[in-house]
């Protein structure tokens, strides 16, 4: 008789506990918006692969408070309208409490009004336009550097580079134009003269005309800002025109190994500003994490050249997961509050958000690490002026 009573009491006590456990088994959903098709599909897919690694690692360690992470991935087709649609779908249909996206600056900007409308935070992993964090959208948290920060990252090497006159060739988007402005300002501050910038359409394949024009400008260095596909084409066409100048690519999407593979000798001697050096993972702020990421990436059979962008996916998801952990629940507002308290080590380096933008409606901006590498003898190395330090 007594045992029966005890059993019933135990069952009654256990019931709410079981219910809580059942509820907490539901996975934490995180939305991901990337260009998985269109002219920049390579980059979008690399970011996706990095995100998947982060998800698997976190789930292997038990998830967040016992709950697994589930990524809901949408393709924005390199089109801002699709990015906005994807954001809406993720928020309303899939009820994600947080999103990572959307790679290109125009796509991110298009999705931003939806974030404010529904009150859902988004971690920006790649976009570089300054306006993203200056617009006064308190639901935006960016871990990638705006072009201004990138240019400042190069500043310390300017004396060693000894540039007299620089030219620009950039993709005609927010990203390219922003880079031209930011780098131009920094160069001019140091007394470097700047030639007229040339632009190319995102889908253009023939840049011979622009290269011919730049050849006649008298400069000694060319700053090139675009995705790896176009960089390949520019380098090949520059070689065909016997363009003999120093070339520095910016934006971090240059995937040097892909350049070596597809542009061959044309890539020799070029410099690249990146935010991850998979060739020297131990030199990254958290060497062990970086090495582990590189190893996992190759274990999955992903192309090595994708690492320079794939890490963005990892860091973005890791940031969101950390925020959910701090918040204790997967609720958008709580996650946003928690993002301000996040301080973790990503593959790129420390991630911590500072206020950026108009008072009262600040967005979060982290200060990522910035690196410069060079292609020499068909391999990626540290440039002389960096190695000496």
């Amino acid at each position: 008789m007594r045992y029966r009573l005890i059993a019933v009491l135990l069952a009654l006590l256990a019931a709410p506990g079981l219910a809580a456990v059942a509820e907490s088994q539901a996975p934490v959903k995180i939305g991901v918006i990337q260009p998985l098709s269109g002219p920049v599909a390579a980059s979008g897919n690399y970011v996706r692969m990095g995100a998947e690694i982060a998800r698997d690692w976190i789930n292997a360690r038990g998830g967040i408070g016992g709950r697994k992470i589930e990524l809901i991935i949408e393709d924005n087709k390199s089109d801002p309208k699709e990015a906005a649609n994807a954001a809406e779908k993720l928020i309303v249909r899939d009820r994600v409490p947080a999103i990572m996206g959307a790679w290109g600056s125009s796509m991110t900007l298009a999705a931003m009004p939806k974030l404010e409308e529904y009150g859902v935070p988004m971690v920006v992993e790649t976009s570089s336009a300054a306006s993203i964090t200056k617009r006064g959208n308190p639901w935006i948290f960016r871990i990638s550097p705006p072009s201004e920060m990138e240019a400042l990252g190069l500043e310390k090497y300017l004396p060693a580079l000894k540039i007299k006159k620089a030219d620009f060739l950039a993709v005609n988007t927010d990203w390219g134009r922003g880079a031209v402005g930011a780098f131009g300002d920094v160069l001019k501050k140091h007394g470097v003269s700047v030639g007229a910038p040339e632009f190319m359409d995102q889908a253009a394949t023939d840049m011979n005309a622009q290269i011919t024009k730049i050849k006649g400008s008298g400069g000694d260095t060319l700053f090139l800002t675009t995705s790896v596909e176009q960089i390949t084409l520019v380098l090949k066409q520059a070689q065909e025109q016997r363009f003999q100048r120093r070339i520095i690519t910016t934006g971090g999407s240059s995937s040097p190994n892909q350049l070596i593979k597809q542009a061959g000798a044309a890539a020799e001697g070029t410099y690249h500003i990146l935010f991850f050096m998979p060739w020297f993972p131990e030199a990254m702020p958290d060497g062990k994490l970086a090495r582990a990421f590189v190893d996992e990436w190759s274990k999955r059979g992903h192309p090595f050249e994708g690492l320079t962008e794939g890490f963005r996916g990892h860091d973005g998801i890791a940031t969101i997961a950390e925020a959910v952990k701090i918040a204790g629940k997967d609720e958008p507002r709580a996650i946003r509050e928690a993002l301000w308290k996040v301080s973790l080590m990503g593959v790129n380096g420390p991630i911590r958000f500072e206020k950026d933008g108009p008072a009262g409606k600040e967005s979060g901006q982290s200060r990522p690490s910035i690196f410069v590498v060079q292609i020499r003898d068909g391999k990626v190395t540290l440039p002389d002026f960096v190695a000496k330090k």
Binding site: V92, R93, A110, R135, N172
Partner: protein, 328 residues
């Protein structure tokens, strides 16, 4: 019978936000509404005047940018911006009409493509005016007589009114003398000209009306998404409009409406059903199958089926479904 169906349809449309709970679905319906206006406008040129314009996205984009620039930079009120957008597009339509109707058929098609191409390039490169690829974010919300159309439900009614207006305009035009002139020109242009119907004049009327409606749709789009960028000139918008008109049934009044609703809902429905890699492949296959089995479009096919159902028994002559148009 017809009135009953129409009445039910109207009742459903008017109360939509009440029974369609998900804001995402309302969003799809709003986009369908905007595309309805676009499809109706293209139908005027393509279905009634018989001219294939593949630059229609240009009129859409001109309307969107005009409205956005006037309300954003000069603080014009929404309604004034809308009217100006329609006017600007209408003017462009008139210009194209005058230029292009000197040539017909394939050549007209290519002039319209070129026009759209040039406008698209201008929007990307003329930074001072359009802000180039960065676009115009922060377009103010639509406001009419003190009512602000910020929420989806409110905007739905605005778009519904716009779509109703577009259909009404098309209906009036088609049923008027101008409409009969269109028909005459479409069926047999030299003959029509010989009885005094000035082809260029009527084609210009079609072009201006068509472009103005598309411009209005552009303005509605700009104030809904609150961000206008050169992507509005993408060729895929034009292609989508053409699909909607032809698959829905060109030369009919209901065709573009059906086409717009179907082909706005289709990609979203596919998004639910299949992984992202297969969505567009299926879209293409559905399109091919649709055109293959219903070459005149959905509405004429449904109409013919209904007529066959209600046809008299053997012995009495059957009515022929609508005349076929030999386009140039």
């Amino acid at each position: 019978m017809r009135l009953l169906v129409a009445g039910l349809g109207a009742a459903a449309a008017l109360t939509l936000p009440l029974w369609l709970q998900s804001p995402y679905h309302v969003h799809v319906v709003i986009m369908a509404g905007i595309f309805t206006i676009l499809a109706c406008s293209l139908n005027l040129l393509l279905g009634y005047a018989g001219q294939l314009s593949l630059g229609h996205a240009a009129f859409f984009g001109i309307g969107a940018y005009t409205s956005a620039l006037l309300t954003l930079r000069l603080q014009w009120p929404f309604l004034a911006g809308l009217v100006a957008a329609a006017a600007a597009s209408g003017l462009a339509g008139w210009g194209i009409g005058r230029l292009a109707f000197k040539v017909r058929g394939a050549y007209f098609v290519l002039v319209t493509i070129s026009f759209a191409g040039v406008i698209s390039l201008v929007s990307v490169n003329w930074m001072e005016l359009t802000n180039g690829p960065l676009g115009l974010p922060g377009v103010p919300a639509a406001e009419l007589f003190g009512v602000s159309f910020r929420t989806k439900s409110a905007y739905y009614y605005l778009v519904l009114a716009g779509a109703a207006l577009a259909v009404l305009v098309c209906r009036r035009l088609v049923r008027s003398r101008t409409g009969r002139a269109f028909l005459a020109l479409r069926e047999n242009e030299p003959l029509a000209e010989s009885v005094g119907i000035d082809a260029v004049h009527y084609l210009a009327v079609a072009a201006v009306t068509s472009a103005a409606l598309a411009g209005m749709a552009g303005s509605l789009y700009a104030h809904y998404t609150r961000l206008v960028s050169p992507e509005v000139f993408l060729f895929t918008y034009t292609v989508t409009m053409v699909i909607m008109v032809v698959a829905g049934g060109k030369g009919t009044l209901a065709g573009p409406v059906v086409g717009a609703v179907l082909f706005t809902a289709l990609p979203e429905a596919l998004r639910e059903v299949v992984a992202w890699q297969w969505q567009m492949v299926l879209y293409g296959v559905v399109l091919i199958l649709l055109v293959f089995f219903l070459p005149r479009g959905i509405v004429p096919a449904v109409g013919a089926a209904l007529r066959a159902r209600m046809a008299p028994r053997a012995g009495e002559p059957r009515l022929e479904p609508g005349a076929r148009s030999p386009l140039p």
